[in-house]
């Protein structure tokens, strides 16, 4: 496992450090807002000669992802980073990266999409990209972000997967707060990710290839079917890579994490940093004798349906927390998918959706406790007060 050292890092610094250890061949990134300190920190490593990475500062996020597609098609390990409206501006090429099956890794700092203009945490940026064909990993704290960035390289490059990966962390809450982060040594990280062996290279003149050709009614559908298979394969490949990571570094990762859920009758499901706040409330209510627990999906794409269903078996009342609004009028993205997943089950809990924290609105323990107490009532009576609730908004 090598030496482990503990340093005070923000989530952004943790990613920049992981990128330094990964040492991708190319990083193409937009250097100004909405870009984060991830790219600032990594650029410093490049400027100081700590890595041999070709750093390409570009004039827009659209160009950043385009340059990444070019670099990945040339056959080199490629990364970028983005946030919020930066991801929105990349949009067209985000889809192209996934459908061209280029294993690009992109840390994303989750922040609200404008408008009105807002730069604070919510998940509307990456949740909007949930159908783009990228794998999405959500992280609770800087340690998870650091480790997941390293793991993401292996997932993206896995032969049965070959899809790009977003590693998501909460804007400001995780990206700017300083925590103790355990760092692995460089050689252990390099050994874990291994040497990159590309599927093809546009620069290989002995074996020429055509990338991104016109693909009409006769073949496009087949390529989408392959892409769908890549995502399905990821459900098997990701746990294998998590196991390899545990073997190498002694740190466990799961498709979904649960906390005091084994005998729970009441549960809250939340992504990223909010899971930490929920955990504290679980402990408080457990002391009062309430059988409450937390489910924290780590991977949202592919959607780990079986793991989620297994974790929630026995739960009578469930609240799914969404830090984004899908404007479908039927609840947020995490909620609608979990609710749909229960369709095949013999029984299902009463489920409510709590949309919260939009534009960086704080979520407090008292808010979460209020939801838990509501669920305790629901578990007793079977009655749901209101299916879709907005937690923390002023009425």
């Amino acid at each position: 496992m090598g030496n482990i050292k503990l340093v005070p890092f923000t989530g952004d610094q943790a990613v920049a450090y992981a990128m330094k250890q990964i040492e991708p061949d190319v990083v193409a990134a937009y250097p100004i807002t909405p870009q984060t300190e991830i790219v600032m920190g990594f650029s410093q490593y490049v400027a100081d000669g700590k890595v041999k990475t070709e750093m390409i500062p570009v004039e827009s996020e659209h160009s950043a992802m385009s340059a990444c597609v070019g670099a990945a098609a040339a056959g080199v390990r490629t990364m970028t980073a983005t946030s919020a409206n930066g991801l929105a501006l990349m949009w067209e090429i985000v889809y192209i990266a996934a459908s061209t099956r280029l294993p690009i890794v992109m840390p994303v700092v989750n922040r609200a999409l404008s408008g009105p203009i807002n730069i604070h945490c919510d998940h509307s940026d990456t949740m909007g990209a949930r159908d783009s064909g990228w794998i999405q990993i959500y992280c609770e704290n800087a340690q998870e972000v650091y480790e997941s960035t390293i793991i993401a390289v292996r997932i993206a490059e896995h032969r049965d997967v070959l899809l790009p990966v977003m590693v998501c962390q909460d804007g400001f809450i995780t990206s700017h707060a300083v925590e103790g982060v355990q760092l692995f040594d460089d050689k252990a990280v390099k050994d874990f990710i291994g040497e990159y062996k590309p599927r093809f290279s546009l620069l290989d003149v002995d074996k020429p290839s055509t990338v991104g050709p016109l693909d009409l009614q006769d073949f496009y559908f087949e390529h989408k079917r392959q892409q769908s298979q890549g995502m399905r394969n990821a459900l098997t490949a990701i746990p294998e890579i998590f196991n390899a990571f545990e073997k190498a570094f002694g740190k466990k990762h799961n498709l979904v994490d649960s906390y005091r859920l084994d005998d729970a009758e009441i549960a809250i499901c939340a992504l990223s940093s909010t899971a930490g706040t929920v955990r504290g409330v679980v402990d408080k209510l457990r002391k009062e004798g309430h059988k409450v627990g937390l489910l924290k999906p780590r991977v949202f794409r592919p959607f780990p349906k079986d793991a989620i269903m297994k974790s929630l078996s026995g739960v009578k009342a469930l609240a799914v927390f969404d830090r984004s609004e899908s404007f479908s009028s039927q609840g947020g993205p995490l909620f609608t998918e979990i609710e749909a997943a229960f369709y095949d089950e013999k029984s299902h809990p009463s489920i409510i959706n709590c949309i919260y924290g939009l534009g960086g609105r704080d979520i407090f323990e008292s808010d979460i406790e209020g939801v838990f107490r509501q669920l305790i009532d629901t578990a007793k009576t079977g009655k749901v007060k209101e299916k879709i609730q907005f937690i923390g908004v002023r009425e």
């Binding site: 459908s99 099956r101 070959l162 599927r199 055509t210 087949e222 390529h223 892409q227």
Partner: protein, 99 residues
Amino acid sequence: MAKDNRDKTKGWKDIPIGGLIEKGGTAKAYKTGEWRTFCPVRDESKCINCMICWAYCPDSAIKTKDGKMTGFDLDYCKGCGICASVCPVKCIRMEKENK
């Protein structure tokens, strides 16, 4: 009515992923000249072989031999009319094609 050719082509497990084509120069097989509505026609007697049309053609569709303009490659000429527009002696005119 459209013809159903689905059974005659390779399935999704038998083709390279991501739309990759495992050879280069594939654009050559794609005859973009079929898109043309107007066709360039040259009056050879007026042509001074200045090669301005050759330099401007966005599809490399001006045919030449021994430094002389010899005609148009109609497999790839999309009929944009740039050659007619830039010709200094106006020896190229665009004629509507009857397809």
